[in-house]
């Protein structure tokens, strides 16, 4: 059920990209899709009763291995968050440039004014 909710979150973002006409709303849909994907990767790796993959002082390693959640997806998502921040900044820059040229965020208007 939780995976299904996460998919619904993804599809809400997709709906924003497909249906909306405002460029800022499209960027928001993109960000929501990114969030849903990050959350999905971490959800799949979750283990019930899992502890944080950070060793405390005086903790035995064999017990730690049994209890800790999988650290590898967290690393991948940590990289992806920063990359997605770069993507967001780039897309916002392009949107600002389009606004400066056409004076609107409406993509239909932009298409009509092209040329």
């Amino acid at each position: 059920m939780i995976y299904g909710l996460c998919l619904i979150l993804f599809l809400v973002g997709f709906y924003g990209i497909v249906v909306k006409r405002n460029l800022i709303k499209i960027i928001m849909g993109l960000i929501i899709m990114e969030y849903a994907v990050h959350l999905f990767i971490v959800l799949v790796s979750y283990q019930r009763g899992g502890i944080v993959p950070i060793l405390q002082e005086g903790q035995s390693i064999s017990e730690f291995v049994q209890l800790a959640v999988d650290p590898l997806p967290q690393v991948l998502v940590l990289t992806a968050i920063i990359i997605n921040f770069g993507i967001t900044a780039l897309v916002v820059a392009i949107a600002i440039r389009l606004y400066e040229k056409y004076g609107t965020f409406d993509i239909n208007e932009i298409r009509r004014l092209r040329g």
Binding site: I8, V12, L43, Y46, V69, L78, A95, I96
Partner: protein, 194 residues
């Protein structure tokens, strides 16, 4: 207990996302988007990923700032509801069909949180968890993987950030764009200052 909390958070996030996409006022939409990000961060915290929670909160604040800077006092005119009815209906139907198919796909995945041996012997994560302290000396396994075992990944990521910075600068610069080709082929830049 944790699955219910996360399900609740997900419902909260879906509502926030719908509000962010549907509300008329752009500033309110940005704030609703920030609520989605904070929800994700709390979910990370419940799933044992504090590194991700910290990063997500901080990046969320920055995305909020950038979107507000981009939108506020710029687009005052609200764009009325979008496409024709026909296109809307077709898109929503296609999304629902996509949801049905992907729900079938989800059944293949293991049940949420019920894996007994997620990190078993053959998994690379098992090696990371058991050997990282003696091999690298870092107590935080996530950092040990990020900066020791998979440091090429980080190198590529840093490169991507660098390229994104150059891209933002290229898209937004004022010089060398209005005059077209003449400036691009090496004319002096100071006569271009408007």
């Amino acid at each position: 207990m944790t699955p219910y909390i996360i399900a609740l958070l997900l419902v909260f996030m879906i509502i926030g996302a719908i509000i962010a996409l549907e509300i008329r006022d752009t500033l309110a939409a940005v704030v609703a988007l920030a609520a989605v990000g904070i929800g994700i961060s709390i979910a990370f915290l419940f799933m044992g990923a504090p590194d991700l929670a910290i990063t997500q909160v901080v990046v969320e604040v920055l995305v909020l700032l950038i979107l507000i800077r981009a939108t506020i006092s710029r687009d005052v005119t609200t764009i009325e509801a979008g496409r024709p009815q026909f296109v809307m209906t077709i898109s929503v139907c296609a999304l629902l069909i996509l949801l049905l198919f992907s729900l079938h796909m989800v059944e293949v995945l293991p049940t949420f949180g019920l894996q007994d041996h997620m990190v078993n012997i053959g998994n690379p994560s098992f090696h990371y968890l058991s050997e990282a302290l003696s091999e690298t000396g870092a107590a935080n396994i996530v950092t040990a993987i990020l900066l020791d075992y998979r440091v090429y990944d980080t190198l590529g990521e840093v490169t991507v950030l660098f390229v994104a910075l150059i891209g933002v600068w290229t898209v937004l610069r004022k010089k060398g764009r209005l005059r077209g080709e003449a400036v691009a082929f090496g004319q002096k830049e100071e006569d271009d200052e408007a």
